[in-house]
């Protein structure tokens, strides 16, 4: 195996699921494999350009692939379907609370949701996340702060009404 292919393979093994999770959280599972596959094809072609750590770069590429290939309304519908499965999937103790958080997340704008997901689920630093969305770390912090406030508000509303799983997608769209 050449240096390039071993470097690429270890990058793939390290980041693939993170990229996949990001795409799923943006546009659902239907398109995820395809977008991930294209993202890594680009990464191979441009391997010399891929920095260390690679994850923010890969997420940035995946974001572009998603934007260029999957229309906004398709993303929204696919994510709607995805949210249904998230809500139905678990029967944990804290299911009610989890549902209210997910429901609140679903009510936010795509931009807010992306920022929160990069922070909470991808656990990126503001600097790395800013890189992914293409703004300055300072601007990202401001946007995160606002998105967090809106999430909080949406969660308060969601807590008072009992989460109704079935209506999740209807209420969201």
């Amino acid at each position: 195996m050449t240096d390039d292919s071993s470097r690429f393979t270890s990058m793939y093994d390290e980041c693939r699921q993170r990229v996949w999770a990001y795409v799923v959280s943006r546009a659902g599972r239907q398109v995820a494999d395809e977008v991930v596959s294209e993202t890594f094809a680009i990464a191979w072609r441009r391997l010399d350009d891929v920095p260390e750590p690679a994850l923010p770069w890969l997420l940035g590429v995946a974001r572009n692939v998603l934007r260029d290939n999957v229309r906004a309304e398709v993303r929204r519908e696919a994510l709607n379907a995805e949210l249904q499965t998230w809500a139905e999937g678990d029967v944990a103790d804290q299911v009610a609370e989890r549902l209210s958080v997910l429901k609140a997340l679903a009510e936010l704008s795509e931009d807010d949701r992306e920022i929160l997901i990069l922070t909470a689920w991808q656990e990126l630093s503001p600097r790395a996340a800013a890189h992914v969305v293409g703004c300055s770390p300072a601007a990202f912090r401001v946007r995160l702060h606002r998105a967090r406030k809106r999430l909080e508000q949406a969660m308060e509303t969601a807590t008072y009404s009992r989460p109704r799983v079935r209506n999740l997608s209807e209420e969201w769209s």
Partner: protein, 391 residues
Amino acid sequence: MNPIDQLRAARPAHLGDTPVDERTRAAELSYAMAQTRPPVRAKRKIARPVWGLSLAGAAAAVTAVAVAVSGAGGMTPRAPSSSQAAPSRTVQPKQVKLSARAVLLAAAHQAARQPDTTGAYWHTVSVRRSLWNVEGADYTVMDRQRTEGWTPAATGRGQEQWRRTQSLGAQPATPEDEAAWKQAGSPTEISVLTHRKPGDTLALPTTPGKAKVSHDALFEGDKVFWLGRNVTMKDLRGLPSEPGKLKAWLLRSYEGHGTESSGSPMSSDAWLFAVTTGLIMEMPATPQVRGAAFRMLADLKSIKVIDNVTDAEGRTGTAVTLDVRSKIRVTDKGDSGILQSRLIFDEATGQALASESVVVKPGGYQADFAPGTMWDSQVVLEAGWTDDKPA
């Protein structure tokens, strides 16, 4: 509980770090690695590499896309000082009177008349200059990178492409910049903004660095250049010498997007211009093919010709130009900048002198530079066949 923590706790289990299944992994890896990668970039990027800068520090950063190499010590011609090299950063040449087409056809005629030679290695020496804004200070430096390359005529076992690269150091771009640099205590290492991402910087030394030599087996055993796709020396030497056929040959690799990223749309004229600039600048095409390349450019509607242009080495030539949009990322909202891509050549021989990017409308990577600023240039100092061994 903090809403971010609550959100973290609510992450669906399948979005955690579960391993990818083996079949998907195998399929995705083989799909990715089946993609062809350019072994040698025919054309440096019009925009500065978006991500390449973090590769291996300053030296690698500025050559991220360079083909080849540079000399050390006595073999390396001294780089001209910045004041000689770039007498003025803003270039305001006049439009030529002869029609653009006529000028290019004349160059085509001259190019096709040059003798065709060959040798053991195609050897090139070029210097790339790029402008950078200094972090936290109001001045600009020009970084210089020398690149020398050897590409074997032969293919087969043991044949290698060689490159030698050397940073020639960064210098204040103008006398005003020099004054500002002195005021800042004449630092020998200057931290500049990359614009790759906000706040990202790169440390450029002001003195020449060590030359780095590398050599690699030919890509896929025989591919040596990139012309929209990877080509062998034989492919290159056998290109069609009729402009229409050459254009068709090249356009077979055009997919509607730029030469660097499948995500950025690019017109076929801009794409052809970028690929043809690489062909004319850096590759040992036959004189007839070089002639055809100029004729093909003459027929592009969006080109212009500018007479009496001085390249970064102070040599005078004629430029064929095309305006391209400049964005840091395809998805960037807001206005993109406009850069003028120039191929500067000697009308008497059709020999390329340099390719440059000049700011027409600030934006993208060039947001901080005034219209007329030469933002990036690559001059060809040598391009010819040699029987001498590399490095």
